[in-house]
Symmetry: C2
Subunit: 209 residues, 2 copies
DNA sequence: TTCCGCATCCGTACCAGTGGGTATTTTTTT
DNA sequence: AAAAAAATACCCACTGGTACGGATGCGGAA
């Protein structure tokens, strides 16, 4: 089996490559640190499995995985990430990836994931499984916001005042206040900070990082 | 030479240990993933050099380094971090660390840093050096936050009011207001949202779950 | 057709936080 | 011991957003 590794932290790459090559079922491992390199390697190297970080510069690992899955549906993907925020996990798994391993896990866990996925299965770190189960039990509290409310939310996080938001959206300051009120109600928060947290956890605002 | 490795990403740890052990001047390497473990190892293992991540859970690598430097001034410290925000770098180097290597660097760079620091020198990744030089040219009033200010910042993020923060820290509400004012000044922000963004970008606050 | 969600708008009282200060005590650094 | 930094506390005018109230029109679902 041939494996392609993608992570912009080169320091992790070298050690990881060595560890993975220690497995019998693995024939060769190529390691790259940008999405561009990865795309090139896809053609020449033809891996059966990709282990990718999520927070790679530019497009990011999720967009990369989407590309891979649509161009080469046969290739398996395992995410290797430090992020365990629900929205991240959701985005990642929506690409059709077969695994999600946290960077804080022991390396044996990644090896196990590789084995499992190579055999046609799936693998998720315990923390990720917990998230999946919770989502199952409490289905979607998240897309309850209307388009307009999301717009207002975005502008709140661009540090505009209600007045400025009103001017930007061509509505009265009063209306902005109402939207704001509704945002607090719907998100079950009652402070600006709480609202920000909610927005971040549910990936409702762009930017930041 | 004996080296202690601290990083909460265990996956990085195993590979790194192997790579470092390949060096002649290195006798043994111990790898731990929490600050508590690291403190224990300090007693029993007595390393001459520590390679530490900055964003380890709880206290964080910077507080850990401060402890180390005050209790064992002879021990050298190299930070291994993904962060290249000026604020982070400044705070890290204020501990008296001898090196700062980015995780995106090749592993050879870390090995070079270890060698250099072991011989009594210092080592910084190119990006970090650039920051240092720019700071030299523009003598930046940018101050780092005090312990108390960070405490207040944390509590702001726990959605406490100034009054509540005062009660929690046994100080007057007026004092909280002052700290808050200083936070805005030091971070060059003037809205709560701006402050939040600064804090998140420089991970000054423990994660939002 | 009726009903509901969405988006729009308004008033008023209230209060938490802002922004401009000043100033003392304690701790740390030099 | 002197100087600098940190932490503490206060005053006060002001503003932005909150918490109550309401209200209208419009389009799609039942």
């Amino acid at each position: 089996m041939k494996i392609l590794l993608l992570d912009d932290h080169k320091i992790l790459l070298d050690g990881l490559k060595f560890l993975i090559l220690g497995q019998q079922e693995v024939d060769s491992v190529e390691a790259v640190s940008t999405v561009e390199e990865a795309m090139q390697k896809l053609e020449s190297f033809r891996p059966e499995l990709i282990v990718s970080d999520i927070s790679v510069p530019k497009e990011g690992g999720i967009a990369f995985a989407k590309n891979v899955k649509s161009s080469f549906p046969g290739i398996k993907v395992i995410f290797l990430s430090m992020h365990e925020e629900p929205y991240m996990v959701k985005e990642a798994l929506s690409t059709g990836a077969e695994g999600y391993v946290l960077k804080k896990a022991a390396h044996e866990e990644l090896l196990k994931a590789i084995k499992e996925v190579a055999e046609g299965g799936m693998f998720f770190s315990a923390e990720i499984q917990k998230i999946l189960i919770r989502r199952m039990a409490f289905p979607e509290d998240e897309k309850i916001l209307t388009v307009r409310e999301k717009e207002v939310l975005e502008l709140i996080f661009e540090e505009l005042s209600n007045k400025e938001i009103g001017e930007r959206l061509f509505i009265s300051e009063r209306t902005v206040e109402t939207h704001r009120k509704n945002l607090y109600t719907k998100t079950k928060t009652n402070t600006l900070v709480g609202l920000l947290k909610f927005a971040l956890e549910n990936n409702l605002i762009s930017g930041l990082h």
